[in-house]
């Protein structure tokens, strides 16, 4: 006989092979609880970072390679001090972040209606759908010569490259979300007398939202990566110095400390965007529908 007694806190006790939906929490959140919760949320990623940095330090000590070929955390910290000190890194990060976010938002605004058009106009989807998937595959650098010829050396070139990278990905994400909508919802819209636009706004988009968010996450990745490609074109002058230019600089100078630093900065930006934007959004969405991301139920 197994006895389930009223014990709210035996997280680790889950018997082998039992796939239990997480029980809901009975108590009201108090101040102390909330603090503990925030800590519980922040602790695992922090632990991951600490573990990774330690491994890195150990590897760099143990490695027989020359220091400049395998910079350790200390070296990178020193590089960080230098480029933060002279202000180049913060300003580059701010420039890139602004371009990335604004480009992503523009891509979103353009891609969403396109995706809806593809989802609803069957011949359009058959005609253009494969092309969209193919555009996703086209590397950003391929657009650079054309973009320079059309837009010159302005921010418009950079945005063009970002958009061409992010738009196909967002379109595909939304299409996938729409395709997975239970077919009953279409019947429901029909029966409720929804006009097409009402169906889209009131039923289809909300229903596709969880899939859409995961498409947006990929779209964000594409727009950021395209931005990095665009920032390699040129530096200074009318184009502000971005993180991508710094990365290129590090590669040109074979300065692996700088390269590692930029990688860390990009990772940090990615983690922050994920933790502040996508993860909470997705969690709220799923929770509102009685689903819960399995790893994120704390």
């Amino acid at each position: 006989m197994s006895t389930l007694i009223n014990e709210r806190s035996h997280a680790g006790q889950e018997p082998d092979g039992v796939i239990v939906p997480p029980a809901r929490d009975a108590a009201q959140p108090t101040r102390g609880r909330r603090l503990r919760r925030a800590w519980a949320k922040a602790a695992p990623p922090l632990a991951a970072v600490v573990v990774l940095v330690s491994l890195w330090q150990i590897a760099s000590w143990a490695s027989p390679m020359r220091d400049d070929l395998f910079p350790g955390p200390g070296d990178v910290l020193a590089t960080a001090g230098r480029v933060v000190g002279d202000g180049s890194l913060p300003s580059a990060a701010a420039t890139s972040l602004w371009r990335g976010l604004s480009g992503f938002v523009i891509a979103l605004v353009i891609a969403t209606p396109l995706a809806l058009a593809l989802a609803h106009v069957s011949w359009l989807r058959r005609a253009v759908g494969p092309l969209v998937s193919a555009l996703q595959v086209l590397p950003s650098v391929a657009w650079v010569p054309a973009a320079i010829i059309v837009f010159g050396l302005t921010d418009a070139t950079i945005y063009a490259v970002i958009l061409l990278g992010a738009i196909p990905s967002i379109i595909n994400g939304l299409l996938a979300g729409i395709d997975m909508i239970p077919s009953q919802y279409r019947a429901l819209s029909h029966v409720l007398g929804a006009r097409r636009i009402q169906h889209i706004m009131l039923v289809e988009l909300p229903a596709a939202l969880p899939g859409y968010v995961s498409g947006l996450r990929q779209g964000w990745a594409f727009s950021w990566r395209s931005l990095m490609a665009a920032e390699l074109i040129a530096v200074g002058g009318s184009l502000g110095l971005g993180v991508g230019s710094l990365l290129q600089r590090g590669r040109d100078l074979a300065d692996l400390g700088l390269v590692a630093l930029i990688i860390l900065v990009i990772l940090a930006i990615g983690i922050v965007v994920e933790l502040l934007v996508f993860a909470p959004w997705e969690r709220r969405l799923l929770a509102g529908r009685g689903l819960s991301p399995m790893g994120a139920n704390a």
Partner: protein
């Protein structure tokens, strides 16, 4: 606005014929019940009446403004509360914004869910979800109302209350109602006419008209229930012998 079926035939893909040459006419304001074995094609017929499915043969005439439809499963939108689901139907029916909230409250109260107004579908019991779907169907206010086993998940008491409400609404609005049920007594209690469908393929094998006098007499109603059950049983046994 009457509903006219003429030689309506349906099959899915290259499967067996589901409905075979139905010819039937439903007058405006009629209250019709469909009885038939599980899988005989009742839901498919309602789907055709709602314009969700095209007949493979024959034709169907329905009112231009379409039909309100309560599906066999509730099909609530999971991101909306009970109130939200009903309000959506009102919005799509063109009810002005100001009235929606009040009307939705009334409908939710009607189905006894006043205490669960803000619950999301995943926080409701099966019967509660079915009642929200009922409220939503009533919110549509069409001249034709299709209902697919609307009370199947409800307890006898709630069901009784909702029977009363439904008849009251029908009498007040004069709408046409076609509903599917497996409960023979429910059919007798509510409907003005009962159509019994056979299965494999579905044809109308029996039609009964029920007057209010008839309904008022429990003994005659019970006798009819027994008789209809027998019709269904015979039909099904015939089948079993064909099948095996």
């Amino acid at each position: 606005m009457s509903v006219e079926l003429s030689e309506t035939t349906l099959r899915y893909g290259d499967g067996p014929i589901v409905l075979d040459g139905l010819t039937e006419s439903i007058r405006p304001g009629e209250f019709v019940a469909l009885l038939g074995a599980s899988g005989c094609g009742k839901s498919s017929l309602l789907n055709m009446l709602a314009g969700l499915l095209e007949p493979t043969g024959g034709s169907i005439d329905v009112p231009d403004d379409g039909a309100a439809f309560m599906f066999q499963d509730p099909t609530l939108l999971p991101w909306l509360s009970a109130q939200g689901n009903v309000e959506l139907a009102l919005r799509l029916a063109g009810v002005p914004r100001a009235e929606r909230s009040v009307r939705a409250r009334e409908l939710i109260d009607l189905v006894q869910l006043g205490h669960a107004r803000e619950k999301k579908p995943h926080e409701m019991s099966g019967g509660m979800r079915q009642r929200v779907a009922l409220a939503r169907a009533l919110a549509q206010q069409r001249r034709l109302l299709l209902m697919d086993e609307p009370f199947a998940a409800l307890d006898a008491i709630t069901r009784d209350m909702l029977h009363e409400e439904l008849r009251a609404i029908w009498q007040r609005t004069g709408m046409t109602i076609v509903f599917v049920t497996h409960n023979v007594r429910e059919a007798i209690r509510l409907a003005g006419r009962i159509l019994v469908l056979s299965s494999h393929p579905g044809r109308v094998i029996d039609t009964r008209t029920i007057t209010d006098d008839f309904r008022a007499d429990p003994a005659r109603a019970a006798a009819l229930a027994a008789e209809l059950t027998d019709v269904l049983r015979k039909e099904q046994f015939k089948h079993e012998h064909l099948d095996q």
